[in-house]
Symmetry: C2
Subunit: 167 residues, 2 copies
DNA sequence: TGCAAATAGTTAGGCAGCTAACTATAATGC
DNA sequence: GCATTATAGTTAGCTGCCTAACTATTTGCA
């Protein structure tokens, strides 16, 4: 996602609104600011994870595995839950396996299927990363009151319902 | 940014909260939902732009050039305003120049400097893309009342002030 | 004035995402 | 019961992002 460092000022917005009459300045600012802040936070999270040799993709795979009672899942399930293609998941698992944070084995029931398992080192990596992550998240979200947090969830829900507008 | 397709349910959140006492379930849900919706919208925008042979990076360069009164800017200024590295901007300009949407020329005053100019075809591309973009944006943001829009901006501003929490 | 430092842009190489095409295995149905 | 179809995973090749290193040019100061 793009890190728009310079949101338009009133002069520029007017220039665009003159050429494109459908432009609504308040809506544009709300949308761009929304993407801007989300990108900032996402990049910040990546910087934090990078200090532990992770990025969101690899980190998310570890978390998805820890969610499972037996700490196991197939690559396709992981791809689906993480929202990436199976090809991308292959690469993520390759790199996690290189770092010995997960292991691969072939299923006996269905020999097409691979089982990915969180290793002891993978669990330790999460135990290193998560407490500090939650403390930082707490600091971040404490900027909002209980009421603002509820309001945010309500607004996000309304925006999500419109997510097909670009299709 | 990751498209987390499966947000945690109450059972999973409890499992994590048990192992990591600093986890605050409401805060985690707010944060993940925020990133999730933003990613959805960003991907949607990219899909729309892709139907016009653009993506956010290339599109943003055209917009930044149109903002300028002479439709010109240097690669470093563009990189700074778009929030990408100068190396990335070189690639974006290369690809826009291949499509004849921008042109390059060397500055006379400072022969280190390149001037990137929006071509007539580049302006036409924006005239193709922007009206429909603004109409879709209008549909998206009309899901929020005036009051909700103001609230969103206030919430985003508070979150942005915390954006260093991950450093 | 001439050399060191700063600046503008590009190139090289890496990573993480994608789609499309491929291999191996399993399921289905005539 | 064998051929077709579907499914799981990987590979190949593309894109756009990054940092670090490089070239060319300008600036600044001793």
């Amino acid at each position: 996602m793009l890190e728009l460092r310079e949101l338009p000022d009133a002069h520029i917005l007017k220039k665009f609104a003159d050429r494109y009459p459908d432009a609504d300045i308040d809506q544009i600012l709300q949308f761009l600011t929304f993407l801007h802040v989300a990108t900032d936070l996402s990049n910040g999270l990546d910087r934090y994870l990078a200090s532990h040799d992770l990025l969101q993709g690899r980190w998310w795979v570890l978390i998805l595995l820890m969610r499972e009672d037996d700490h196991c899942a197939s690559p396709s399930k992981l791809a689906e839950k993480a929202g990436v293609s199976r090809a991308t998941m292959t690469g993520l698992i390759d790199s996690l396996q290189r770092d010995k944070l997960v292991s691969r084995s072939t299923s006996n029931k269905d020999r097409r299927q691979t089982l990915v398992r969180l290793t002891r080192a993978g669990q330790k990596k999460l135990d290193d990363v998560m407490p500090d992550y939650y403390r930082r998240l707490n600091q971040l979200m404490s900027a909002l009151s209980k009421q603002e947090g509820d309001m945010l969830m309500s607004i996000l829900s309304k925006l999500r319902q419109q997510s097909a507008v670009f299709d």
